[in-house]
């Protein structure tokens, strides 16, 4: 063991800059927010159980080198349509969740296949294309849900349909399935409730991802992610594999949305899906993932840090400035500012690593 010299301390700081940054912000923010420990811990647990699945759904396309899947919103739409049907048929509890998931699968596959095709055609412009695709599909979704449902697609439940006779109302009460999974296995430590069953499902998807990496398909995706050209020359069908990656991500996003909404308890029919894309991606980035590298640990770390910041910053901002009207702006400023800084730090770290390798070489040569 060498004694830790200045260099290694700097190295440590550099390579952990983002978590340290968050640590500082949170340690300043928490006292200012005035929240109790119970509340904060409970809130983080809830948010982990609510969002992890969605964030995890982003990992597969990253593995295949397709970057962050802004098209996950499509999966969320599929999940929502599943939930609308389940609520309409008045299917209660776990069966409801299960059925909604099953209903979402064919839709997700269809949507995923479509967005995979489009992204293949727009290589290198995936991000912008993903944005616009989400807008486009939002229109289609509105067409189906607001005009198709109740007129073409029969919806029998009058409390869901607008009184004009067609179209789903802007909110669907998911009381039938609300937190059925979360409270399936009740566990309370002190005042803190832990949704054991949800975490088990999340663990399951983690296992799936770990297992998936070990399959032939997973291996192929990793290969494509590293170098499309080499993979192709080894005989892997690149385009097809990329589409499969997006489909898997979309299906998982659909499931994730259902888990998210069973916790939230109400479906914001025309907007819920808009919530997930941007925030899941931001959380994953904050966790240390990048456009071409994402690990399960990034997802969890990201959700924890990102949401902890979101929980404490409005109150902290308000108390820090002393005006409620500024608290919200302060929160948005700090949150997005921190995300920008985090991204810059990650980029900077990568640059430094490259530089370090370079200087090591030069030093070795100087010595000779």
């Amino acid at each position: 063991m060498k004694k830790p010299d200045r260099k290694s301390v700097i190295f440590f700081l550099e390579s952990n800059a983002v978590p340290i940054l968050f640590l500082i912000i949170i340690s300043i923010g928490v006292p200012y927010s005035g929240f109790s420990v119970d509340y904060l811990v409970q809130e983080i647990i809830i948010r982990l159980s609510r969002n992890s699945f969605l964030v995890l759904s982003l990992l597969v396309p990253i593995m295949a080198g397709m970057g962050l899947n802004f098209g996950m919103v499509l999966g969320a739409m599929a999940g929502q349509i599943g939930l609308i049907f389940v609520t309409n048929w008045n299917i209660v509890g776990l069966q409801g969740i299960g059925l909604a998931m099953i209903l979402s699968i064919p839709l997700s596959i269809l949507l995923g296949w479509m967005s995979g095709k489009i992204l293949n055609m727009a290589k290198g412009r995936e991000m912008v294309t993903g944005f616009i695709l989400a807008f486009f599909m939002n229109g289609v979704y509105q067409l189906v849900v607001l005009y198709g449902m109740g007129s073409i697609i029969p919806i029998g439940n009058p409390s869901m349909v607008l009184s004009r006779g067609y179209g789903i109302r802007n909110t669907v009460n998911l009381i039938n399935i609300r937190q059925t999974l979360d409270s399936l296995i009740p566990l309370k430590i002190g005042n803190i409730q832990i949704p054991v069953a949800t975490f088990m499902v999340i663990a399951l998807v983690c296992l799936f991802i770990v297992w998936f990496r070990k399959t032939k398909l997973g291996q192929d995706m990793r290969a494509i992610g590293q170098d499309m050209h080499v993979a192709e020359s080894a005989g892997i069908n690149v385009e097809r594999t990329r589409i499969i990656a997006i489909i898997i991500s979309t299906v998982l996003a659909g499931f994730g949305m259902i888990l998210y909404l069973q916790n939230i308890g109400t479906l914001n029919t025309y907007n819920s899906h808009e919530q997930v894309g941007m925030f899941s991606i931001a959380a994953l980035l904050v966790g240390g993932a990048s456009v071409n590298k994402g690990k399960i640990s990034h997802a969890f770390l990201g959700v924890t840090l990102f949401h902890l910041m979101f929980v404490i910053s409005p109150m902290a901002g308000k108390n820090l400035i002393g005006q409620a009207q500024l608290g919200e702006y302060f929160r948005v400023f700090v949150s997005y500012g921190v995300i920008s800084i985090a991204l810059v730090l990650y980029a900077y770290r990568k640059l430094k690593e490259k530089e370090r390798a370079g200087t090591a070489l030069a030093e070795a040569q100087e010595e000779k």
């Binding site: 032939k216 291996q219 005989g235 370079g358 030069a362 000779k368």
Partner: protein, 533 residues
Amino acid sequence: MSQNAPLLEMRNVTKDFFGNVVLKDVSFSIERGEILGLVGENGAGKTTLMKILFGMTVIQDTGGYGGEILLEGKPVSYKSPLEALDDGIGMVHQEFSLLPGFTATENILLNRESTNYNFMTELFGDRMRTLDRAEMKTRAEKAIEKVGVKLDENTPVSEMPVGHKQFTEIARELEKENVKLLVLDEPTAVLTESEAEILLKSMRKLSEEGIAIIFISHRLQEIIEITDKTLVLRDGRIIQETPTDQTDIEEIAQAMVGREIHAEGDRAEVRTFNAPHLIVNNLWVDMPGETVRNISLEINKGEIFGIGGLAGQGKLGIPNGIMGLYPAGGEVRIDGKTIPLNNPREALDASMAFVSEDRRDVGLLLDEPIDWNISFTGMQMQKRFLKPVLGGLFRLRDDKAIEDIANHYIEALEIKCMSPRQKAKELSGGNQQKVCLAKAFVVEPDILFVSEPTRGIDVGAKKIVLDTLKEYNREKGTTIIIISSELEELRSISDRIAIVDEGRISGILPASEPSKAFGLLMLGKVDSKGDSK
């Protein structure tokens, strides 16, 4: 019948690229377990020959080839490299085709992984089979063993020394069950001597097992050492086909270079110089794959100075380092004035110019027209090709002047193009090279570095490029430093030639010395082991 037929036979293979003949009536055969040495200068047609064998799409795209290829007596014509692989022909490329983040095992078994059954395959097909890591490990180990090296199969490729990458590539080819013929394209170029030794040993072992090998190398020593038969290609023709034990390095080199006889006429008249212009002391350059360790040079005013050496030895690092494109250290002086390193601007301001060996990435703006490419450096460095507007308030690009200068060089260098506004990426390699030269000529430098000016261009263009350089040197008195892998090219134009080996100068000789002398310098005859560690 297939028992008696040679493993591979090529009959009268001919290939031209748009009328430019690169292969003519090439016929040879190779038996099982035979090692065939394929030698020839760059551009002699070796690579094209191998591309034809593997059915690379570029061959079909450019009109196919003439003649026929027989594998075990059966005519074959591959549409894609994958088909060739299926028939047991493997190739190790000069550029690595490896995934940096994958371990050796994963790379060796890429897309041929061992897998286990699980119930998901019933639902989603075979791609859901899980990888059998244990089995993969044994298979990889076996393949590595075949190569005969010690290699940790769990190391990611990105962390491997370059030699191990090479072994990984070879192991990948050997791992294929039915491999009968292996093509190794300059596998030893990046290896240290001891590593090369190991490779040669394993090649011998493979041939004993009945695997035929086509071995392409510039290291003639190795060819002599290991091959059963030597095939010399020059200008697309087979010049010499002899059992290796009946020839020697000198004869091969002679056959390879060939033009020596008439090249003699081209030889630069012996000139003497005594005004040192560019002085380089203890230069090191961190250029990946072309590391320069410690080089000192003294170059005279008005001289054409050649720098030669094998690929990967560091000759390319010298101009790149001096011009500030890669991290460098040491001292560079022009007429006694020290030039700061690591800043391209300083180098350019000192009236140096550089024609990079990397045309696509460094030399050209591929998406921009020819005239832009030619005038850009001149405009940025010397504020030329600008015309004052509004009484000199500010200055705009002078499109007329730009076009004029472009037209001038298009004519002077015989650049084949439709117009000066044609995009650089639409030009052929040779014409792109001429554009790069024109770009350097435009700034009228005192010192011009030209790196691999003839790489990948045809014989006709080669001549124009070299003649132009010579002419330019004679007319303007420009000091030219030309870096090339092709010795004869250097000899035909340079006054003196330095040979770089392992990042150091192994010797500087007048160009009039026989090529053999240079060849010996190149082949590492200078004992460098003493100071390398």
